[in-house]
């Protein structure tokens, strides 16, 4: 107990700051007319994703993201919704990962991925202004200029500059993830956030492809201080295409891990009713880390897998 008392006393300021961040986020969305919603944490089926390993609960799954249920609300006519929910991803443990974490997701009808990225820019700047009264973020000895708009860089250009190949022209899944972590991210400008845009179609997941260039998906990610903070899509609204992608991914998972995955029929039905829309997921723990100048997620969570 004395060791725990000391540990929790040390991070108290960070936990207070965390609560402030949550307050600013809720205020930001409430002011813009977003509805805060709650969807189930324990579900029958999740989106099949090869590199995200779900945690089972009595034969059901703990959610890896609230995306499927939030889209069912969108399909039913809800136009602006947001949620901060706990998500669970097996085996993810490191400086930036805990198997249980907090994800902020929001969706807008009539918007595309660029709109979601500008929402995120406004939100993050609002949080930093409120907590630090500054447009400069100090993180790990680096001053990061948060002035809007943040620089955009296409995935294609980022890879050509840092890794010497074009993943849009010829996609190689293995090499893509490895070079992203080893070459592309370390080469991003440390003094500004970076928005990486237009991912290869093969890495589209639930995003729609560009109409004028089907080799790329309308997907973008925000990186600040070397941390992957948020991932935005122009959402795929073609139910048949969504089913094809899910079935392909599920078959891949079955081949690799031998586990069958049931595809959510209520979700696939809802995709057919989705309006043009965009959604984005932002890691709340990571946003709090940036604001607390924390190098490890342990510093901003009262309890992680280390001390449960």
């Amino acid at each position: 107990m004395p060791a725990e008392r000391e540990r929790l006393a040390q991070i108290k300021k960070n936990l207070e700051r965390r609560a402030e961040v949550y307050g600013v986020v809720r205020e930001f969305f409430r002011k813009q007319g977003f509805l805060e919603i709650e969807t189930p944490l324990r579900v029958l089926s999740i989106a099949p994703e090869r590199y995200i390993s779900p945690i089972k609960s009595e034969g059901w799954y703990l959610i890896t993201s609230p995306e499927l249920h939030m889209k069912r609300l969108l399909a039913a006519g809800y136009k602006q919704i947001f949620q901060i929910s706990r998500c669970f991803r097996g085996g993810e443990r490191g400086r930036l990962h805990n198997p249980e974490f907090s994800l902020l997701e929001w969706y807008r009808a009539g918007a595309d991925y660029q709109d979601s990225i500008s929402d995120a820019e406004q939100l993050v700047v609002a949080v930093i202004q409120k907590l630090h009264r500054s447009k400069i973020l100090h993180y790990q000895g680096q001053n990061i200029d948060m002035q809007l708009p943040w620089p955009r860089l296409s995935v294609k250009d980022a890879f050509l500059q840092s890794a010497g190949w074009d993943p849009v022209a010829a996609y190689d899944a293995e090499r893509f993830d490895y070079d992203m972590a080893a070459l592309v991210l370390p080469a991003l400008d440390p003094a500004h956030p970076t928005v990486l845009t237009d991912y290869p179609a093969a890495a589209a997941s639930l995003a729609r492809l560009k109409t004028d260039n089907p080799l790329v998906a309308e997907r973008a990610e925000i990186f600040i201080g070397g941390i992957e903070l948020a991932n935005a899509y122009s959402e795929l609204t073609d139910a048949a295409e969504q089913r094809r992608r899910f079935e392909k991914e599920a078959a891949q998972i079955e081949r690799e891990y031998g586990t069958g995955m049931q595809i959510s029929e209520p979700f696939l039905e809802a995709v057919g009713y989705l309006p043009e829309c965009s959604g984005i997921a932002l890691g709340m723990d990571r946003l709090v880390m940036l604001l607390c100048d924390a190098v490890d997620i342990n510093e901003i969570c009262a309890f992680t897998e280390n001390n449960i």
Binding site: Y51, G91, F176, A182
Partner: protein, 188 residues
Amino acid sequence: MEIEEVHKNTKLMYQGKPWNVDNAEFVKPGKGRAIYRLRLKNLLDAGTLDITFHSGEKVDEASISNQEMQYLYKEGDHYIFMNTSTFDQTFVSEAQMGDKINFLKEGVLVNVQLLDDRPIDISIPVFVELAVIETGTAIKAATVTAQNKSAKMETGYILDVPTFIKEGDSLKIDTRTGAYVERLTAKK
């Protein structure tokens, strides 16, 4: 063992050599494949190696046994230890010892880690008791302030101590940080 089970200070066999994991970093893009970046230190010659694994890969854990041994003396850059049950003698090189040489007194008992009967590392207690052999203005550690001065211990280790410490005093030292903790006995 699975790469997922590897942590800092896990001992591995890799390319036929034994290594200590000095640092293990988990890197994973949200939608992408997990990567484990390891910094390995060779347990025989202290050389380092950076290496990357993907999730699902397997590595060989080095089978390490522990044996209580008594530290006898230093000869050249070899530290001589004696197995307390067989009285066999063996040595550990200065490179393998690292910072631990600062805290090792002749005659103390330590745990020696063996790889196929070959000593590769020793475990020393978190706190050790060492006597001051010299203190004063002639000896300088990193900082000298109004409250601190430098002292040389019987092992040759030099550190900052409070100004009231005298030659012959016995001090408690934290081997994790190398810092002074308290005076145990003052010189009579």
